[in-house]
């Protein structure tokens, strides 16, 4: 077995035994954010598109999930589907507009649209404004065969969703589609001159990333049983950037590592109130100034550098 496969195997075993050691709700939350950060990284790390408004997909999907399950009384599978499709649809509309500008404007446009969605969520009746959707029931899955009221059972469901989502990301990156995305990131005019319609590829990547962020958001609503304005806020959009950045942009496992670090940090620092913001901001500054590759990226670079010596 190669080192890579051993690492994967160890990670999988760890994931399976984790709820015996750690608090399952914490693990599930971290997995949702890991998937979210992975979806964000698909866009920035592989397509070179910096979205600063990804919370709109995550948060809207959480609301959609809550509405479908709580107000309409439908099973959670449909709630998850609503989250994914809702995220994709929102991604299609905002993405089609945002890709009309390049570079830093793209980030500002996505940020502005996310802020618009935030204001809409404050006003729309189905989101219940400041209160948010509370007490979303945990209905049984598979037509009543799989009850998920126990955190322990739900953990394995969430793990399965996470693996499915991350499997999709892996497939996208290693497909011809992923290669074209990289080509566009490296040199857009050249990709266009080779006959690739860059805008269509970018839009597709944006929609895929939005759909997976939607899956993450809907799953989060299933786990924590609420959807609130925090889920669509600019603060969360910033947090997901931070997760991907801490772990390493353009690495597959980086966002997972980053999400676990940030969620753990938030758990421990919850008592410090505003100081969490200061620390998050300081991490941004330190990473941009000194560790642009992120944790996984730096380790990979170090590994590569010492390899030739034996």
């Amino acid at each position: 077995m190669s080192t890579r496969n051993i690492a994967l195997f160890v990670a999988l075993v760890l994931a399976l035994v984790a709820p015996f050691v750690a608090y399952p709700v914490f693990l599930m939350t971290a997995l949702c954010f890991a998937l979210f950060a992975g979806a964000f990284n698909l866009l920035l790390g592989y397509a070179g598109l910096m979205s600063f408004g990804h919370a709109m997909f995550f948060g809207m999907a959480a609301y959609f999930f809550g509405h479908v399950v709580k107000a309409w009384g439908l099973p959670p599978e449909l709630g998850l589907l609503a989250g994914v499709l809702g995220g994709a649809a929102l991604g299609l509309v905002t993405g089609a507009l945002a890709i009309r500008r390049q570079g830093i404007y793209f980030a500002m446009i996505t940020l502005a649209f996310a802020q618009m969605i935030y204001f809409l969520c404050v006003q729309m009746p189905f989101t219940h404004g400041e209160d948010g959707l509370q007490g979303i029931p945990r209905r049984a899955l598979l037509g009543g065969l799989l009850p998920i009221t126990s955190d322990f059972t739900l953990y394995y469901v969430v793990l399965a969703i996470f693996l499915f989502g991350y499997g999709c990301i892996y497939r996208f990156i290693h497909s011809p589609f992923g290669q074209v995305l990289k080509a566009i990131r490296e040199n857009e005019p050249r990709a266009v001159s080779l006959g690739y319609e860059a805008d269509r590829y970018k839009l597709l990547a944006f929609v895929l990333s939005a759909a997976l962020s939607g899956l993450a958001g809907a799953t989060k609503a299933m786990v924590l049983q609420f959807a609130t304005l925090t889920d669509v806020s600019a603060g969360l959009s910033g947090e997901v950037v931070l997760m991907a950045l801490v772990g390493g942009l353009g690495t597959l496992s980086g966002p997972i590592v980053g999400a676990f670090i940030i969620i753990t940090m938030q758990n421990y620092l919850a008592g410090f109130g505003e100081f969490v913001l200061v620390i998050q901001g300081a991490i941004f500054v330190v990473i941009v100034m000194a560790f642009r590759k992120g944790l996984v990226g730096e380790i990979a670079a170090w590994w590569k550098a010492r390899r030739p010596k034996g």
Partner: protein
């Protein structure tokens, strides 16, 4: 006609005035962003935090040293501008060679640190700042508080002075030249890095001055710039960052549009600027005054 629509003239003009005041802040802030972006190639996410620091500086100067508003209007921008200069020398100048993305992330992180610290020290509820000009004029169709009238005029004057300084003076010519081709300008013996530092300091100072002007109107609070900077980003996308006059015109017009929306369809007043942005992206993706790169 107004009665037909169920809107009284005082309400209409009152909202238009509010819109004009908001527009004044949009114009001042987007102007600063555009100037900074032109020289530094960095979108200054800290702009909202620096606006807040301007208001706080005025409030602290008044509370601790009894410095009146008029002195604070000059002192606060200088203080905050100097802090900006330090940030530029220490951090920003090291990332100019990188992708725009990193400047955005760095200044975003700085904004979090600054706003978090102010929130930690002074809480998130606002503090009032007494209005330096009391009273108002009754114009017949509306009541105009004197200070609000002053803010609109002052902001317009500051914007026009900035425009004049950049488009009509020698220093402005160096600045524009350095934006186009820094290497060539350096070859002529002009200290471009110093020019960049000055530009950042002045851009930040403009944001702080807007903050001082806003202090008597809004509450002085740690998060007063957080949402504002997001709206200003939309303003910048709408106007494009290519033209100084463009930023001024776009800022004031969007404030007015927002004010009108508050009169005719209040629920949309928060989102109207973003809708305008979507429309502009559809029709003229480069922005109203922008050039396609």
């Amino acid at each position: 006609m107004f009665e037909l629509l169920g809107i009284s003239p005082p309400a209409l003009f009152g909202q238009l005035l509010l819109g004009l005041i908001n527009g004044a802040f949009y114009a001042m802030l987007s102007l600063g962003l555009a100037v900074i972006f032109g020289m530094l190639n960095v979108i200054n996410f800290t702009h909202g935090a620096q606006y807040m620091m301007g208001a706080f500086a005025a409030w602290l100067l008044l509370g601790m040293l009894d410095v009146p508003f008029w002195a604070a209007l000059v002192l606060a921008p200088i203080i905050v501008g100097l802090i900006g200069v330090v940030l530029e020398r220490l951090l920003l100048k090291r990332i100019y060679h990188l992708d725009h993305l990193y400047g955005f992330l760095l200044t975003f992180g700085l904004a979090l640190v600054i706003e978090g610290m102010f929130q930690w020290k002074w809480g998130s509820s606002g503090a009032p700042y007494p209005s330096p000009i009391a009273g108002g004029w009754n114009l017949g169709f509306m009541y105009l508080p004197k200070y609000r009238g002053f803010v609109v005029v002052a902001a317009l004057a500051i914007c026009l002075i900035t425009w004049y300084a950049i488009e009509r003076t020698r220093l402005g010519a160096y600045l524009r030249a350095a934006t186009e081709n820094p290497t060539l300008v350096r070859a002529f013996g002009i200290n471009v890095p110093r020019l960049i530092t000055i530009t950042y300091g002045v851009g930040v100072g403009l944001a702080a001055m807007a903050g001082v002007l806003a202090a008597p109107i809004q509450q002085v609070s740690a998060l007063m710039g957080t949402n504002l900077v997001l709206v200003v980003f939309a303003v910048v996308v709408i106007g494009g960052m290519g033209s100084i006059m463009g930023s001024i015109v776009t800022g004031f017009s969007l404030g007015l549009i927002e004010g009108l929306t508050k009169v005719f369809y209040p629920p949309a007043s928060n989102t109207v600027i973003f809708v305008v942005m979507a429309l502009v992206l559809l029709v003229k993706p480069a922005g109203l005054f922008g050039q396609t790169k």
